[in-house]
């Protein structure tokens, strides 16, 4: 049952990836103007443009171009960046580790705070700790990332001089962008954890577990929490996908040289090959994370595959 479910979801993911590759491929044709003309600029002669079209293979039928494109992807060839004058794949893969690092740091920071806080708030609904948890959550969900990022730089870097302002580097450079990205997630997970716990604790099976003489602390953290976990994993997974695609705003504010900053520059520079490939990478990251989230949820809740 479980493996059948996993196989079906993998199949669906492959279909999604094919669709994304078609869209990414067509992007260059949907964009207004002739791609060769855009690349070469207005000063180029018609002969030069024509020669460039042939070089890019733009004179061939669309499906031939598509299969060439796909073939290229499998060989690791994503085209050449016009702004960097280097292979796109090389640039993306040099930036990707930074984005992964930032994503993991963000998720780690946000979950370490939000999961215990959500459980405690849910268990002590209406008490002071619940009030503070909700204040924490509402602030986190209300502040824009831009404002929070600038505020963090102002407080921790400019005033307290504890951390570097911007740049890409070691752990000290990672903290502020991770907090900026992580706080809204933390807020959301706190709320989800709290409401999930409140719902679960009303269930008969929790009373039944307490009636078995299991200590309440264990009932909350083990037997109740597993039920409250599914929406949390779904939300964290979605955010993880978004961040792996690059946190454009935060990476730009903090000059963190990841995929997000690259995307921002590529769009600004009209670097088509780059944008096209970034779209593909971001979509692939999202699809794979979604796949993992579904598999994890199915592992946690047998009802997903059994019913």
């Amino acid at each position: 049952m479980f493996w059948k479910f996993v196989l079906r979801r993998i199949g669906q993911t492959v279909i999604v990836l094919i669709c994304v590759s078609i869209i990414a491929f067509l992007l260059i044709h949907i964009a207004p103007g002739d791609p060769a003309r855009i690349v070469l600029g207005d000063s180029a002669t018609d002969e030069m443009v024509e020669a460039y079209r042939e070089k890019l293979g733009l004179d061939q039928p669309l499906y031939v171009q598509y299969f060439k494109y796909i073939g290229g992807i499998f060989k690791g060839d994503l085209g050449t960046s016009t702004s960097y004058q280097q292979p796109v794949a090389k640039i993306i893969f040099s930036r990707f580790p930074n984005t992964i690092l930032l994503t993991l740091a963000t998720v780690l920071i946000s979950l370490v705070i939000s999961i215990p806080l959500g459980i405690i708030a849910g268990v002590h609904q209406g008490k002071a700790i619940d009030f503070f948890a909700m204040l924490f959550a509402i602030l986190g969900q209300s502040m824009s990332t831009v404002w929070l990022g600038v505020l963090n730089i102002y407080i921790f870097a400019v005033k307290l001089k504890l951390l570097p302002t911007i740049g890409t580097g070691g752990l000290e450079y990672l903290i502020l962008p991770a907090i900026t990205l992580g706080y809204p997630i933390s807020a959301q997970v706190t709320r989800l954890g709290r409401s999930g716990m409140i719902d679960v604790l009303r269930e008969d099976y929790i009373t039944a577990t307490l009636a078995k003489g299991i200590p309440s602390s264990k009932v909350y953290t083990k037997y109740a929490f597993k039920n409250a976990l599914i929406p949390i994993i779904t939300i964290v997974g979605m955010q993880l996908g978004v961040f792996l695609g690059g946190a454009v705003v935060v990476e730009t504010i903090f000059s963190w040289s990841g995929i997000g900053q690259l995307t921002n520059q590529a769009v600004g520079n009209r670097d088509y090959a780059m944008v096209q490939s970034l779209l593909l990478v971001i979509a692939a990251a999202m699809a794979i994370i979604n796949l993992l989230v579904d598999i994890i949820n199915a592992k946690i809740d047998p009802r997903i595959t059994l019913q």
């Binding site: 099976y205 009373t207 039944a208």
Partner: protein
């Protein structure tokens, strides 16, 4: 010879506070269960049967409050006990089977885990021993051992109740509280579950508190019966006595509402009105607005429990003085 008292509930009062109202669920419950005895607790929905059971385990919901009374278990006061003191009792000495098997098993844990957790907690078994014992317990309640790693969703309602029973008897408790264990099940499955409980009670010589609104179950399984109305026990005695010579108009009403195949009774008699609202209880005898033989006294005064004979007690002015 007087049997030893296992559980003695005295003047138990519980109220629940919600934003809208305060509801007085238990208003002075007195109930005794002796060792090895099986007692049926019967009453309409909302009479306070489940609250009584959960009070014994000190597990009423957060908005509930014990306002008075005591609960003695083997002479030890449970009322106001810290969680630490209750843990060795819950699920070990006193265990409970819940009403709805569809909601009382945790959907994300295997049935083996849900039986095994009791064994690990109370008998100090490790994961592997607990799983092995869980298999045996499943066999005892009529479920194949290989299903130990299945999840509740893979079982039918009746099978899930068997799992609940297996967890209930896992530590061989002194008292088993069964809260309407068959209400949510089909009639044929009900019979199987009752048969199983009857067998296990004999085998394990456990005391039983059977909560139900089904009088048939009481006469099948229990020696004693307590009739509950609006948070009080209004009649108590042996099943033989209470069912054949009901004294309280409410008990008479309950028995009159019971269809029978072999009596010549042509019509069922329903008790008029609905059960007293726990947040707006009538003065005097709680039953007086529905009572066919209501007197002036009943409207003002709470009747006391009177002894009719050794096996029969009733809380009604009509029987004061103990005469029949």
């Amino acid at each position: 010879m007087e049997k030893e008292k296992l559980l003695e509930i005295k003047n138990l009062k519980v109220k629940f506070t919600t934003e809208r109202a305060v509801s007085y669920a238990l208003n002075g419950v007195n109930l005794t269960i002796h060792k090895g005895e099986s007692l049926g607790l019967v009453g309409e929905s909302g009479a306070g049967k489940t609250t009584t059971a959960l009070s014994v385990l000190q597990l009423i919901s957060k908005n509930g409050q014990y306002t008075d009374g005591s609960i003695l278990y083997n002479g030890k006061e449970l009322m106001g006990s810290a969680e630490k003191e209750m843990l060795p009792i819950r699920g070990h000495k006193i265990s409970m089977i819940f009403q709805n098997p569809l909601t009382s098993l945790n959907p994300v844990f295997t049935v083996g885990e849900q039986i095994g957790m009791v064994l690990r907690q109370h008998l100090g078994m490790n994961q592997k021993q607990a799983l092995e014992r869980a298999k045996e317990l499943l066999e005892t309640v009529g479920i194949a051992a290989y299903r130990v790693n299945d999840y509740p969703v893979q079982f039918s309602g009746g099978m899930r109740q068997r799992v609940g029973i297996a967890a209930g008897i896992a530590c061989n408790p002194e008292l088993l509280i069964a809260d309407e264990p068959t209400t949510a099940l089909d009639v044929t499955i009900q019979a199987q579950i009752l048969e199983l409980m009857k067998r296990l009670q004999k085998e394990y010589s456990t005391s039983l508190l059977m909560i139900t609104h089904n009088l048939g179950i009481i006469s099948e399984l229990c020696e004693k019966v307590a009739v509950m109305y609006a948070g009080r026990i209004i009649e108590y005695g042996t099943v033989q006595e209470v069912f054949h010579h009901p004294m309280h108009p409410y008990t008479e009403g309950l028995l009159g509402a019971l269809p029978s195949l072999d009596s010549d009774k042509s019509e069922l008699t329903a008790i008029p009105g609905t059960i007293a609202n726990a947040s707006n209880l009538p003065d005097g005898c709680r039953f007086h607005p529905r009572c066919v033989s209501c007197r002036e006294q009943c409207r003002k005064q709470q009747p006391a429990m009177v002894q009719i004979n050794d096996d029969h007690y009733v809380e009604c002015f009509a029987h004061e003085g103990g005469t029949v």
